[in-house]
């Protein structure tokens, strides 16, 4: 319904390696995290998060959006090593 407050929950499989752990051989495991999550509606940013190693593995985010218009939601995760993952959802608001 137009104007309704909706909750969007996203999660993605990713180890979020902190960069502080050592392997059983004693070598430091280099950092490998998702650094940024963005959610756009028809290209306009409606939510973004800068993530640090303190975010748990398989990062989960939950945020709100007031559904004023229909459109395409784009979800973008970017991280170390050129990591990039995009998902798209069509949202229809009546």
């Amino acid at each position: 319904m137009r104007g309704a407050l909706i909750r969007i929950r996203v999660s993605i499989s990713h180890p979020m390696e902190t960069g502080y752990r050592r392997s059983s051989e004693g070598e430091r495991l280099s950092r490998n995290i998702i650094k940024k999550f963005s959610c756009m509606l028809n290209g306009d940013l409606i939510f973004s998060a800068d993530l640090y190693p303190a975010i748990s593995a398989n990062p989960y985010l939950s945020f709100q959006h007031r559904a004023a218009r229909s459109g395409e939601l784009t979800f973008l995760w970017e991280g170390d090593g050129g990591f990039k993952h995009v998902e798209r959802v069509i949202m229809s608001v009546q």
Binding site: L5, S11, H14, P15, F75, E87, V89
Partner: protein, 288 residues
């Protein structure tokens, strides 16, 4: 609620997106109150389903964990195991291996054919003449009928499929072991459960039978019922089968680790199943 079903390569990043109307911000105070009441009663119903009957002293590990961890398991949109369930769902219908066949070619819809499967394993495999865990059964099936490589034993794909199948067993009661073929392994499992092993010389029973409910450090010792496997263990930050948990325990008491799918391993899993017979399966769960 809109739940996005994702397609992509089998090894693509698994992500889940859930969109729902946020009732908690609805401006009518009464609506907020009713939502809270409904949520509480719904949580109570699930809680009742998950606890054993009052006269049964057995308790799932669910009962021993904190409120926030319980909430993680109960909410499918937050349960980290659901990422693997999603992967397993995709693998169920994916055409793979030398035969380009899929699980669903033989088994159809998993939510019909696989109802309660996780509560009936480990079970006898007539071809290799021994009981096998669900994980082993999935591997055997994929190698026999899909032409998959056996070297992927206990690999991520097997685990994801196991998670997907465990979801089909949610709320079903773990069944009693009544196949006479598996009795020698069941007895062996009972014996192993009571046997002191490792550098620290502890048996499973020492902690999980005689000291369940007391503390090891700051952690409460659970009773070790396999009611939520494969489980997303916060300590692992990933999903793991019962065999992984058992190996973790063996490692913790400085004992030699049983090999995957070995006789000692499946014997213990079989005994744990019998010990938990009648308790409800929680689907893939979360544990500390």
């Amino acid at each position: 609620m809109i739940s996005l079903g994702l397609r992509g390569s089998l090894r693509c990043r698994l992500s889940r997106i859930l969109i729902q109307r946020d009732s908690f911000k609805w401006h009518a105070l009464m609506a907020v109150f009713l939502t809270c009441v409904f949520s509480c009663s719904q949580a109570q119903t699930v809680h009742s389903l998950l606890t054993a009957k009052p006269q049964d002293a057995r308790l799932s590990g669910f009962e021993f964990m904190g409120e926030s961890t319980r909430a993680l398991q109960l909410d499918a949109s937050q349960n980290p195991a659901m990422l693997s369930v999603r992967e397993g769902e995709q693998l169920w219908s994916a055409r793979i291996g030398s035969k380009q066949a899929a699980c669903q070619d033989c088994h159809g819809n998993a939510n019909e054919s696989m109802r309660g499967i996780a509560s009936r394993y480990p079970a006898w495999d007539g071809a290799i003449k021994r009981p096998v865990s669900l994980s082993h059964r999935i591997n055997l099936c994929r190698s026999r009928y899909l032409g998959m490589d056996q070297s992927l034993i206990e690999g991520p794909a097997t685990l994801a499929l196991e998670a997907y199948l465990a979801l089909q067993s949610k709320a079903d009661r773990i069944t009693s072991v009544d196949d006479p073929n598996v009795l020698p392994w069941l007895e062996n499992g009972h014996r192993l459960f009571e046997k002191r092993i490792g550098q620290i010389a502890l048996s499973c029973a020492d902690c999980h039978e005689h000291r369940a409910g007391s503390r090891l450090g700051a952690s409460v010792i659970p009773q070790a019922h396999p009611t939520a496997y494969p489980v997303y263990r916060l300590q692992w930050q990933s999903l793991g089968a019962l065999s992984r948990r058992i190996r973790g325990c063996f490692s913790g008491i400085r004992a030699e680790l049983p090999e995957p799918y070995s006789d000692p391993m499946v014997s213990l899993e079989l005994y744990l199943r019998q010990r938990a017979a009648g308790m409800p399966h929680e689907g893939p769960g979360v544990r500390p």
